[in-house]
Symmetry: C2
Subunit: 343 residues, 2 copies
C-alpha cells in the first residue's frame, strides 16, 4: 500500500488519491502552492492527513524562503499559512495544525533554527497522528464484539491519516485481535471514497469487505445483524455534533431507527471546543460537477442544477459515543474545556 504522504527532506511526495484505485500516481514537489492545490483537488484528503500535509507544506515554504531577515521570513511563512488555510473550510485539523506551525514560527529563534523547528514540528504532527491512530484503534476495538458486522462510510484508513486510520483503525485493530469482522462499506457518492479507497484498503489488508451504494445501508441494517456503525469526523463541536462526509447524517438517522450503535471516531485534534454546536460548522459546497458526473463521466443532462455539500452534521443526539485517542466519550458531550485540560 503506497504512503499517502512522504517527507523527503527537501520535497514532499503525495499520492494522488483522486486516481485510485485504478492508477497509482504521485505528486512530488518542493512548492507549498502545489501542496495547497493537491489539498483543494482532494489528491490529499482525510481530515488528519490534510493537517499533516499542510504542516509539511509550511516546512517546505520555510526551506524555500529567500528572506534572510526574521521579519521577512515570518511574513513569507505567514503568507504560506494563509494560502494553506484557504484550501478547505470544514476539517478543523487543518487549522489546528497550521496554528501549531504558527506557534513555532513565533519562537525566539533565528531563521535557520526556525526552519529546522518548523520541519521538526511537521514531523511531530505526523508521528503523533500515527500514535493517535494506534490509541484510537485500541479504544474503539474494545467496543467491537468477537463476531461483528460493521457499516462504515467514506474512507478513514491509512490513506486519510498518518497511521492506521480513525474509524478504520477500530476495524483493523479488532481484526488484529482475532475478532471476526465483516464490513459493509458505503461507496460514498459523489467522490466514491468508499468504493475507491476503503474497499481497496480493506481488501489489501485481507479484511472481509462488501461494497454497497449509500442507498443500500438502511436495507442492510434491516436484513443483516449490524452491530455498529463507525464513521470519521472532520470537525466536532463542543456539544458533540460532528461534521463528516455527506451521507453520514442520513446514515446516523437510519442507525438510530434500527437501534444500532453509531460511533464517531477521530483524534481529539478534530474537536473544536470554540464552536458551541454543529450549526456553526462551515460546510464546504463543492463543484456541482462532482454530482452531475461519476468516475469522470457525465451522468446527468447538461445544465441540470445540482447541489454538492461535501459534508453534513450529525447531531450529538444520534451519536452513541465518540472514540478518540484519549478514550471513548459518551453523551452528554461537553468539550468546551478539552484542549485547555491537555496542554
Amino acid at each position: 500500500m503506497p504512503k499517502p504522504v512522504e517527507w523527503r527532506g527537501d520535497a514532499i511526495r503525495l499520492l494522488d488519491q483522486t486516481r485510485l484505485p485504478l492508477t497509482e500516481s504521485f505528486i512530488e514537489t518542493t512548492d507549498y502552492r502545489v501542496v495547497a492545490d493537491a489539498i483543494r483537488s482532494l489528491a490529499v484528503r482525510g481530515a488528519p492527513l490534510i493537517g499533516i500535509t499542510a504542516a509539511y507544506a509550511i516546512a517546505l515554504a520555510a526551506r524555500n524562503s529567500r528572506e534572510t531577515t526574521l521579519a521577512g521570513f515570518r511574513s513569507d511563512i505567514n503568507a504560506a499559512i494563509e494560502c494553506l488555510r484557504s484550501t478547505r473550510p470544514t476539517a478543523v485539523n487543518l487549522f489546528w495544525s497550521l496554528r501549531r506551525m504558527q506557534h513555532v514560527l513565533e519562537r525566539d529563534l533565528d531563521v535557520i533554527a526556525l526552519c529546522r523547528a518548523l520541519e521538526a514540528e511537521a514531523k511531530a504532527i505526523h508521528t503523533e497522528d500515527e500514535e493517535s491512530c494506534r490509541r484510537i484503534g485500541e479504544a474503539g476495538s474494545a467496543l467491537v464484539p468477537p463476531v461483528a458486522t460493521i457499516i462504515t462510510h467514506c474512507n478513514t484508513g491509512a490513506l486519510a491519516t498518518g497511521g492506521e486510520g480513525t474509524a478504520q483503525s477500530v476495524i483493523v485493530t479488532a481484526v488484529g485481535q482475532g475478532k471476526r469482522v465483516r464490513v459493509f462499506a458505503d461507496e460514498t457518492r459523489p467522490l466514491l471514497q468508499g468504493a475507491r479507497l476503503t474497499a481497496w484498503e480493506l481488501k489489501s489488508l485481507g479484511i472481509d469487505v462488501t461494497l454497497m451504494t449509500d442507498s443500500m445501508a438502511a436495507w442492510v441494517m434491516k436484513n443483516e445483524h449490524v452491530d455498529l456503525v463507525v464513521v470519521g469526523a472532520d470537525r466536532i463541536a463542543a456539544n458533540g455534533d460532528a461534521a463528516n462526509k455527506i451521507g453520514t447524517y442520513g446514515l446516523a438517522v437510519q442507525a438510530h431507527y434500527h437501534g444500532i450503535p453509531f460511533y464517531v471516531v477521530a483524534p481529539v485534534s478534530t474537536i473544536d471546543p470554540e464552536l458551541a454546536s454543529g450549526d456553526l460548522i462551515p460546510i464546504e459546497e463543492r463543484n456541482p460537477a462532482e454530482v452531475t458526473h461519476a468516475g469522470g463521466i457525465r451522468i446527468a443532462p447538461e445544465n441540470v442544477r445540482a447541489i454538492a455539500p461535501a459534508f453534513d452534521v450529525t447531531p450529538s443526539a444520534l451519536i452513541t459515543g465518540i472514540i478518540t485517542d484519549e478514550g471513548v466519550y459518551r453523551p452528554p458531550f461537553d468539550f468546551k474545556q478539552i484542549h485547555r485540560s491537555r496542554r
Copy 2:
C-alpha cells in the same frame, strides 16, 4: 420527449433508456425475445411500462406464431408468456399484465381472432395506464401545497409508464394547476435513473429540479422546508408494505425522522393482494457490476465483492398514504379484497 414504447402494428419500438440522456437510440423489433432482453437489460424499465411492454411482446408473439391449430397457437403464446414472466421478479405489473393476456388467450375464439384480441388487450393495457396516470395526478396533486418542496427517488415519469407517470404525475399535475413546486431528485444509484431520467424529464417539462446524490436527502430534509416525499412502487403487499427502487426504504426512514409526509404512488395494478406483507415480495438481486461501476466506468478495485439488490421494501408504518388511480389510501392499509371489488 421520445416515447418509451410505441406499437407499430407489426413491430414495437422501444427507447433504450440505458443510454439516456446522452444518446437517444431505439430498439425496433418484431421478436418478443428481443423485448424480453430489453426488459432484462433495463432498456425498458418502470413497473407500469414493463407491464405494457410485456403485453405488446405477447401481441407480437401471436402475430408471428406459425401455428395454425388452436392448441399449437396457445402453446406458442404460453411459451412467450413464460419467457416474459422470467425477465424480472419484483414488479407485479408484469405478472398482472401477462395474466390479462393469458385470460384473453383462453377465450373461445379462433387463431386469427385471438391474435386480434391479444393486440387489442395490449393496447387497452397501454391506454388504461395513460388514464390511470391522469387519475393518479389528480388524486395526488390535491396533497401538494400551493408552494411546495418535494423529494423524489428514481424515475416515475413518462419514461416509466404509459402516461405522465406515477409519483411524477403528482408533481406534473400540481405544476399544471399553477402550484409553485421545487423538486429535489435523488440520483438513484446504482443505475442513476434519477440523474439520467428524472432530471432530464423534469427539466424538459420546465419544472424546477435540483439533482442530489441519494446520500444528501437527509441533509436536505434538515435544511430545506421539504413538504413531502413521493416515490413509485413495484409491488405493494396487502398490508401496504411497498417494494420500490433500492434506497426508498432509507429515504422513508429519514422522512419519518424529520416528520415529513411520505407517499407511495402507483396504480392499483401494483397492489398484490395475495401477499400478506412485504416480507414475501421477491427482491431481484442484480449484477454486482452495477455497483462496482458507475456510468459504465469501473469505480471499485477488481474482485471487490458488492451487493446489488434492485429494490427494498418500505414497511407500511413509514407510509403516510398510497396515492392510486382510485384515490388516496390511508393507513391502516388492507388491500386483501382490492381487485375482487373492482372486477
